[in-house]
């Protein structure tokens, strides 16, 4: 579903009146995109479903703060990304505490080495194999949230630099340099996961 600018403005007016029918329309229009973004950021379907709902609740509550400086979709992405960063930090803290507990119980070996990624039989076909998708997904999960957000927004969601600047609040030069570092970090993570350099 695509809304033109006029329809979007009308929708925003209704949303600011807390019109439930308009909000239903809004959720149906954007839920697939929001869920997709959140799932790619979190890498966990159940967490993503929970967080995507929270994103819409935040929109319902704080739509008054939307001034129309950007398109509604871009603003929604911003809300979603902020939620994701907070959730990732929360989950990381929880995992760290869990690991600490395991360490205390002598279970350190279970947590060492990071995610397990199997090596394909045919390295030359790795980039084209179905396994590669899983390797990339796991590697994405190893990136720090700022890098992950940039890769997801640019390379998975296909947003323009301008949109990413609006969503992240970063200047253009910073977006470009951080995206480059993020992609480099992703490549390293993939190679670590595969256990060898990407095929050349």
């Amino acid at each position: 579903m695509t809304l033109d600018l006029e329809a979007e403005q009308a929708l925003v007016v209704r949303l600011k009146r807390r019109d439930e029918a308009a909000f239903n329309l809004f959720v149906r229009a954007y839920q697939a995109k929001v869920f997709s973004l959140v799932q790619r950021m979190l890498g966990n379907r159940a967490e993503a479903e929970d967080l995507a709902q929270e994103v819409f609740i935040t929109v319902f509550r704080s739509i008054d703060s939307f001034r129309g400086d950007s398109r509604l979709g871009t603003w929604l992405y911003r809300v979603a990304i902020n939620h994701c960063k907070n959730r990732i930090k929360y989950l990381d803290r929880r995992v760290t505490r869990g690991h600490d507990a395991l360490d205390e119980e002598g279970g350190k070996a279970l947590t060492e080495g990071g995610p397990v990624m199997s090596r394909p039989d045919r390295p030359d076909e790795a980039m084209h194999g179905t396994e590669m998708g899983g390797v990339i997904e796991r590697a994405l999960g190893l990136l720090e949230e700022e890098h992950r957000a940039l890769v997801v927004l640019r390379d998975l969601e296909g947003l323009s630099y301008e949109e990413i600047m609006t969503i992240t609040g970063l200047p253009e030069g910073t977006v470009k340099s951080r995206l480059h570092r993020a992609r480099a970090a992703l490549r390293e993570a993939i190679e670590r996961g595969l256990g060898y350099k990407l095929p050349e």
Binding site: E157, H180, L198
Partner: protein, 151 residues
Amino acid sequence: MLTDDEVRDLFSAYHDRELSPERNDAVRAALDANAALKREYDAFVRMLAGLSAMAAASEAPLPGVSPPQPHDPAKPADAPDLLGGVQRRLQKRSGGKFYGDGWSRLAGILPLELLATLVLIALVVAYAAMTMVSTRPAPAPAGATAPSAPR
């Protein structure tokens, strides 16, 4: 002339066509001149293609956001319906003001104290009415005379 590391730093911008024409030409020349560097760049591009391949199905672009580019992946096709869950959470957190039935909407609009007072008043009125009915003397049967005083 760019060094190999400088070229590597420009891989992203070169791929995204974000470089100035001069810079773009310089990177291209460096890649043409250095086969190893070119292989590195090709691997980098394949990695980005791998990201794109994560797309499961294409769908309409997000309203307000630019349409997908050729290398862009689309969204998973099995996105859940979030509306019911969002409505339930909003109903619960707003105390029934939003997405509630008649009673919960009323509870959401009126302060709890006021609602409790109204319920109390209703109970008192009901109790008073019942008490009045039970203490009222039964009507005398027709033709009956008042009892005479004892002699």
